[in-house]
């Protein structure tokens, strides 16, 4: 036995023997008990939080509020208590009837003053900005959103902040304010990691919003460019099937309006290949064939149900048909 082992043995002996030792044992047991109670509290708090978030998601605000309060009471862990606190503030903020934005604002402001850090801080900044914006405090909201965007560009929360800030200013799509919001979005998105099909972030949502804004402002080329970027990073699985279908078809139709039939044909073809279960798929097929984007063999290879040889003959006989 080494020295350390011998000392420990002696130490335990003295604990067993002496009154002082008994006192130390009590302290050790109490510490163990406290640690166990804390762990149990943390577990209880985590369970309550998980349930609370689920209830929040389904907008069962009364039970979410109760569970967040329960998690706060049970939470020995400061991080869990803070999560519960933010959850309770979110309930107050988003409750559809009888919402209490002031209560939420007070909670977020206090947490930010207390120096909350990391992703929870980014969340507080965004939620507080949203609450300010709904109260018409646009300058305060902008300051917080900008802090989140610049401070946490690696987080999707920052991308969400940029989107929220933009759509707030698109209330009148043809206004100067909307123009400024578009420019701001185009510029600030460069702060974020470049989107890829595997990790698109909120880039498809940026491009959806930009496409819509440019379209209504009459800039069809810019709208088509936005939709082109959308199509490059999205797919019917990454975004919703219906939105993907809509954007692809808009890119095709606007390309035709811009006098670019080859580009249009590619989008029509993509529409048929990617979203054949959309009601507009046959129309897109007709256009793709008419614009020379699909040949007969390629149409046959698509194996579209109900499309007979006679139908294919008709498709290729009508290549000069207009949209």
């Amino acid at each position: 036995m080494n020295d350390h082992g011998a000392k420990r043995k002696l130490h335990f002996r003295s604990l067993r023997r002496g009154a002082a030792g008994r006192g130390r044992l009590r302290v050790a047991l109490a510490a163990c008990g406290f640690a166990l109670a804390s762990a149990a509290g943390a577990a209880e708090s985590r369970m309550a939080l998980d349930e609370a978030w689920r209830e929040f998601f389904f907008q069962m605000y009364d039970s979410a509020e109760r569970l967040f309060a329960q998690a706060q009471r049970a939470g020995a862990d400061a991080a869990l208590r803070r999560e519960a606190e933010i959850g309770a503030a979110m309930v107050a903020q988003f409750r559809e009837t009888g919402g209490n934005a002031d209560r939420a604002i007070a909670a977020y402001e206090r947490l930010l003053r207390e120096g909350i850090q990391g992703p929870p801080r980014a969340l507080c900044l965004c939620l507080l900005a949203e609450a300010y914006a709904l109260q018409g405090r646009d300058a305060d909201a902008d300051r917080l959103w900008d802090e989140a965007i610049a401070g946490y560009p690696e987080l999707p929360i920052a991308q969400d902040a940029l989107l929220r800030r933009t759509v707030r200013d698109l209330r009148d799509l043809r206004s100067e304010r909307a123009g400024a919001a578009i420019r701001y979005l185009e510029e600030r998105r460069k702060l974020f990691p470049p989107p890829t099909p595997e990790a698109p972030g909120l880039a498809p949502a940026f491009d959806f919003v930009l496409g819509e804004a440019y379209f209504w402002r009459g800039d069809l080329a810019a709208a088509r460019a936005a939709w082109k970027r959308y199509i490059a990073t999205a797919s019917p699985r990454v975004t919703s099937y219906s939105q993907y279908a809509g954007v692809t078809l808009r890119a095709a139709r606007v390309s035709e309006q811009l006098g670019e039939p080859a580009e249009a044909g590619r989008y029509y073809r993509r529409f048929v290949e990617q979203t054949p279960n959309d009601a507009r798929a046959y129309f897109a097929l007709e256009r793709a064939v008419a614009l020379g984007a699909l040949n007969r063999e390629e149409v046959v290879a698509l194996r579209l149900y109900g499309l007979s040889e006679a139908d294919i003959d008709r498709l290729f006989a009508g290549r000069e048909s207009s949209p």
């Binding site: 969340l123 999707p156 498809p204 219906s242 507009r280 109900g306």
Partner: protein, 596 residues
């Protein structure tokens, strides 16, 4: 009868009553005991649905039998209990069971509020991302045999093709229609698909028309109807050319309105997505492009009235079943209905006396020939069925103690082979790729070819009611087209304005809920571990798919209306419609950029 005899008789009756009561009580006790015993010896799962059409229960029961046998062979005794509930009681039954926490393990989806999905159903997205193991298992069995029948060979080929596919991709529509975009989850799988066609009495056709082929064009169909009427006059007979009620008329109305106005529907699309929403159709009316007097509107109504001439007298007072009854009795030449009615029609015809039985044919809605003098220039083509989704869909409730077993059972039921079996019994269209439909149903197979959309004046619920109120008197000949148009012109501006205001406000009303859901994903990103945060980031994007169009909803409606009002003004079309419409909108929403 003496008083004593009366009392004796009463006591007898009471005795019998008591005996029946005791017998019922005993039977119930035995039943409960048997079920309790079964639950101790078997894993029990329950499935409920409202599909009481002929053959459906039998088809599902056959799958249950095969599944139970298979599980027993594997040494895992399982009992699957089918609980069919009548359609009328289903909504109430499910609501009670869900709220009470006693719902069956698996439930047919539908007839309950959408919020039930999130609260009471288990998301199935994860299981649907993996291959269905029963497809590979059945394929291995077939590969080990050399004596496959032709059908087994066909099914084996289908199984081989789907062996490594995600379970969701084995369905004909990729389960697109069962995806809940708001909650971003799949909550079930579908067993069947439905389309609509026209059934006809081949024997009657042979007898009256001297042929048994169906009409190919609308005009031929009318000619057939005329000849049947002539037959009636000559022989004092009472054959009905087209059995119909409001239900069937609505099917025809939807199909032919689409065929006649699909081009216009695309023309009125402003947002370049080849789809005219209600607001875009309304904008076309404000511009003066789409009016009640529009020749296409008139032609569509005339076309429908042309068919209605051959419906039974007083058809509007009949219900769907009455119309079906007259067809299966052999008194009608044709009837429009869905594939869901095929088996019932055939069975009921089989049950007729021998001299009344007849051969049934099925054909697609006749097209309008390009050379048709009245309607040919308007008709775009048949209606596409590319978006036909899966139906008879089953989800798993949160109350189940056997989630894995339920998923396993649903996987068993949705191999191409099992799906063929179920739908053969039901005479329905399979929902799984490669499943074989019965020969009769080939005519019902969804067809990708065709167009979509309808130009109409149904801008929202109020204008739809108004349109309906005028449509039926017009179709039945009570009012003529001029009266229809006059009344529509008088009443449409006010109801269209209210529909518009409702849509406009709905955009803002939908925001808090969607913003909250998206905030929940933000919280997951802030507080979750790496995997949870990654999943939440993907869901955040899809949450914005739904949120962004609503955030911009009022803005683009303003642009659309501004443009429409400007175009109308430039064309000098400050019509009474526009004046009344804008006055009503301003009264409701107050003045705005385009609301003077």
């Amino acid at each position: 009868m003496s008083r004593g005899a009366g009392e004796r008789s009463r006591s007898w009756v009471n005795g019998i009553g008591l005996l029946i009561l005791a017998a019922c009580y005993a039977a119930a006790l035995v039943n409960v005991a048997r079920k309790r015993h079964e639950e101790t010896t078997h894993e029990v799962i329950r499935i409920t649905h409202w599909q009481l059409e002929l053959g459906v229960r039998e088809g599902l029961q056959e799958l249950i039998r095969r599944y139970e046998e298979k599980k027993a062979r594997e040494g895992r005794p399982v009992r699957v209990i089918q609980i069919p509930v009548t359609e009328r009681a289903y909504a109430q039954y499910i609501t009670t069971q869900m709220v009470g926490g006693t719902a069956p393990d698996m439930v047919a989806l539908g007839m309950f509020p959408r919020e039930f999905f999130g609260r009471y159903f288990l998301p199935m997205s994860e299981a649907l991302q993996r291959p269905n193991p029963y497809i590979a298992e059945r394929l291995r069995e077939w590969d080990a045999r050399a004596d496959l029948t032709d059908e087994e060979r066909r099914l084996a080929a289908a199984h081989r093709e789907l062996r490594d596919a995600k379970w969701m991709d084995t369905f004909t529509d990729g389960l697109r229609t069962l995806y809940n975009e708001e909650l971003q989850e799949y909550f079930g799988v579908g067993f069947s698909q439905f389309t609509i066609r026209i059934f006809y009495n081949k024997d009657l056709y042979r007898r009256v028309l001297g042929r048994d082929t169906p009409p190919e064009t609308y005009r031929q169909m009318l000619e057939d109807c005329e000849r049947i009427e002539a037959w009636n006059r000559e022989r004092n007979d009472t054959l009905v050319p087209i059995a119909s009620s409001r239900y069937q008329m609505n099917l025809l109305r939807s199909r032919y309105t689409s065929g006649m106005t699909a081009d216009l529907f695309r023309e009125f699309d402003v947002t370049a997505d080849a789809w005219a929403t209600n607001v875009e159709l309304l904008a076309a009316t404000i511009r003066g492009d789409w009016t009640p007097e529009h020749p296409r509107h008139r032609a569509t109504l005339d076309l429908l009235r042309g068919m209605a001439r051959f419906f039974p007298r007083g058809f509007m007072a009949l219900d769907r079943m009455d119309a079906g009854f007259s067809f299966v009795q052999g008194r009608a030449a044709m009837i429009t209905s869905g594939s869901w009615d095929a088996r019932s029609f055939l069975k009921n015809i089989e049950n007729q006396p021998a001299d009344r039985r007849f051969e049934v044919g099925i054909f697609d809605f006749p097209v309008i020939g390009a050379d048709d003098p009245e309607f040919g220039r308007y008709f775009a083509g048949r209606v596409s069925e590319s978006s036909t989704g899966t139906a008879f869909s089953i989800g798993i409730t949160r109350y189940t103690k056997n989630q894995d077993l339920c998923v396993d059972f649903l996987q068993f039921c949705t191999t191409p082979e099992s799906n063929s079996i179920l739908n053969r019994y039901a005479e329905w269209i399979p929902a799984v790729r490669g499943a074989i439909a019965s020969e009769m149903l080939e005519a019902f197979t969804p067809n990708f070819v065709g167009y979509y959309g309808q130009a109409n004046f149904d801008f929202g619920p109020r204008s739809t009611v108004l349109n309906d109120q005028l449509f039926w008197p017009f179709i039945s000949g009570e009012i003529d087209f001029d009266a229809f148009v006059r009344q529509l012109r008088e009443q449409l501006p006010a109801v269209a304005a209210l529909d518009f205001v409702r849509l406009y406000r709905e955009q803002a009303e939908g925001l808090p809920g969607r913003r909250a859901r998206r905030a929940a994903y933000l919280a997951d990103i802030a507080f979750g571990d790496a995997a949870k945060a990654e999943d939440a980031a993907a869901r955040l994007l899809r949450a914005w798919d739904g949120l962004a169009p609503i955030e911009l909803g009022q803005a683009w409606m303003d642009c659309l209306m501004e443009d429409a009002a400007r175009t109308a003004a430039a064309r000098g079309r400050l019509s009474p419609f526009n004046e009344a419409f804008f006055n009503e909108v301003v009264r409701e929403l107050g003045p705005g950029p385009w609301r003077r």
